[in-house]
Symmetry: C2
Subunit: 225 residues, 2 copies
DNA sequence: GTTTTATCTTACCCATGGGTAAGATATCAA
DNA sequence: TTGATATCTTACCCATGGGTAAGATAAAAC
């Protein structure tokens, strides 16, 4: 286990006072848990780790959550809510399919730089119980279908070049989801910078000039075109 | 723990005979281990699980590997070798930067549909010891730098539109790495189909028409352009 | 055959960590 | 002040799973 370090200033303050304030304490638990899950993964984060960072003991956590998995599920839910909000905002302001996709990329990229948003894609669904698992899975499927419909819409209205919507959506989603694997809050790249560059790269492509032929077969390695 | 199912025909045959043939037995262990790691994750796969699928018992595994982590590390190494080979093939046949990137996308996408290749990106590096961790990390960094250099080369020779190579490389790598999260060997999409579509989507972009202005600021949600 | 060696099994050890029992201590309402 | 309640701690239980010890059995060497 290599990485540890970084003792966050954290929300330990929430438990300094023993005054009854369950809401903010619960929130503090979730924030530090999410932080630790992202640092060390869910499986390698013990409830003792969470408690320790909050300056309390493990059993105290059970006042706010039924078990470890409920903490995980809450992280997922808070994250998916962020995505939900972004999607609603996009749906409200309509435009061409391409514009919707652009808005999606921008919003989604930003969500992937927020801890709870990162949890949604970076943590392992397999750690959830089967009911929670299907809940999260259905939600993700919904997002994917939403993006795919934007692409289809763009092909219809002519703003997007003909392509396989399923695969195109996977490519976009992949690029975006991967952000939460390499993004670091203290890093050189700001969320907005990443988001806008992603919009450009994914919609405009790398190539300087549009190719004349629409589709392309398998690339012949080293074929000089 | 939701998903189990799929009792693979597997390489249980390798241990049917007790004849001394360490090489193929070791290979059988690796293949079934990789399979299980991808199905259930490394953490949720016990050595008993691996042994059971091979019709042997746990301690027998210790004849071929020092410990569980060594099995994991071997999966990583076999996977990175696949990528290495692909990269060498590309480096050998030179062309424009864009052509190299295209070749990279195509080869890499294919590797992501092979079990050992999937292991490299899908399994959790955090399960490795610190020395193995840095080994794998350095290797991944090397791949990333290689891709980034292709992009930079393309910008130089004019085949790729000006952009931030670091972010562009991340976008491409993300889309590709994500393949191993959703690809299923028995699924509707073939590896080649995915690979060639990815080449098109990533290099040509979604948009039907090239935008006149090169860079783009943050998208105004719902702004009618 | 007999010995040697690789292979594999049964039986076990023990550290980790989720979860609980039972009681202490502070807060709040009266 | 006093009881009731929420909050938190110390001490514990126990299932899981990596790893080992010691011995059985079969293959190869002689």
């Amino acid at each position: 286990m290599p990485k540890d370090a970084v003792v966050s200033p954290s929300h330990g303050k929430a438990f300094a006072d023993r005054r009854r304030d369950p809401a903010t304490k619960r929130e503090a638990v979730l924030k530090t848990a999410a932080q630790l899950f992202l640092e060390k993964s869910y499986g390698r984060t013990s409830l003792n780790d969470v408690a320790e960072r909050l300056n309390i003991t493990k059993p105290a956590l059970y006042h706010y959550f039924r078990n470890k998995e409920e903490i995980l599920l809450e992280c997922y839910r808070l994250g998916t809510n962020l995505i939900e909000e972004a999607l609603n905002e996009i749906a409200a302001h309509c435009g061409t399919g391409l514009e919707k996709v652009e808005a999606f990329i921008y919003s989604y990229a930003n969500v992937m730089t927020v801890n709870f948003g990162r949890c949604v894609m970076r943590l392992d669904e397999g750690d959830l119980s089967s009911t929670a698992f299907t809940e999260v899975r259905n939600y993700k499927r919904k997002i994917d279908r939403r993006l795919r419909s934007f692409v289809e819409e763009g092909i219809q209205d002519g703003s997007i070049a003909p392509c396989e919507p399923k695969i195109a959506a996977f490519a976009i989603a992949g690029a975006l989801n991967w952000i939460c694997e390499w993004y670091e809050p203290q890093g050189a790249l700001s969320a907005e910078e990443i988001a806008s560059q992603f919009v450009r790269t994914l919609t405009q492509g790398l190539a300087r000039n549009k190719r004349r032929n629409g589709a392309r077969g398998p690339v012949n390695l080293g074929a000089q075109e």
